[in-house]
Symmetry: C2
Subunit: 172 residues, 2 copies
């Protein structure tokens, strides 16, 4: 675990630090449904959200950006009580609780903003570490798009939809 | 069934005819996750897609617009082989096979454009007519977002994700 961690709103000034791990993660194409050749402008536009959505960075005890999360509305109209979120952790700082802290933060953000459910639209079935984390935070795999993801090493694998209702556990 | 039906690309000139049933359907808020107060500009922008996506209208034997469909990429990157589609049929012309014809058209469109799967992101669980149609065309409910949709008459109901792989049935 990190001895000290701050999660705060991301600014344009954080982008180079985010991009340093965002680019290799998306280029590897193993965990995100983003273009593997995504340019920096498209990435920044897609990741750094404005209100009412939110993007944050996690900083370690040295002030280093070790992870980031974006959180947003997932559906419109009569389904606009469902939030969404995405997380990215610098692999150099994995295993220290950064992803968990970001996920908990996003659940709190969703509650505070009136959402009553959160949905992850596309969790690659081979990303068992993320799936385990989400399950430990109350999410369940509610459906799988068979052959929904072309994994560069494993071929066609499933793409999970994960979901949890938020109004059952007020401790978040 | 319609005695004669043409499905062709939608043009701006078709919009008033589309809006005539699009507005009451979205205002009712029973079947789409669109804002129930959506204005005409937002609706037209969201529905009339440009290449490589596609929007079509179905015309009856009198040249009347009786339905419309949009079809598009559903995911990016290593999931960009999954298409999506939405359909709207004028209630005054329901029960005549318009929805089925539009759905079959979109499956053909998806195949022709290299997609190997199609996903419907948000099918309201009470919309049993649509669900039955999709199931008859090879789709399955692969997951349900419990309490995912606030139905104006039935309260919180499920929101289904429906899906089918396209490379199994070359007759489409």
């Amino acid at each position: 675990m990190l001895s000290l961690m701050l999660i705060r709103e991301a600014t344009d000034a954080d982008w180079p630090a985010i991009w340093a791990f965002f680019q290799p993660i998306t280029t590897a194409g193993e965990t995100f449904t983003y273009p593997t050749d995504m340019g920096q402008d498209q990435a920044r536009q897609g990741w750094l959200l404005s209100k009412p959505d939110r993007t944050v960075v996690a900083l370690d005890e040295h002030g280093t950006v070790v992870g980031t999360a974006k959180m947003n509305r997932n559906h419109m109209g009569n389904a606009d009580h469902i939030a969404g979120a995405s997380y990215m952790v610098d692999p150099a700082h994995s295993g220290r609780g950064v992803g968990r802290a970001l996920c908990e933060y996003s659940l709190n953000w969703a509650r505070r903003n009136g959402y009553t459910a959160m949905q992850f639209n596309a969790v690659v079935a081979t990303n068992t570490r993320a799936i385990g984390l989400y399950e430990s935070l109350g999410f369940a795999v509610v459906g799988t798009l068979e052959r929904g993801f072309r994994h560069p090493a494993h071929g066609h694998v499933g793409l999970h939809i994960m979901y949890r209702v938020l109004d059952e556990d007020p401790t978040w």
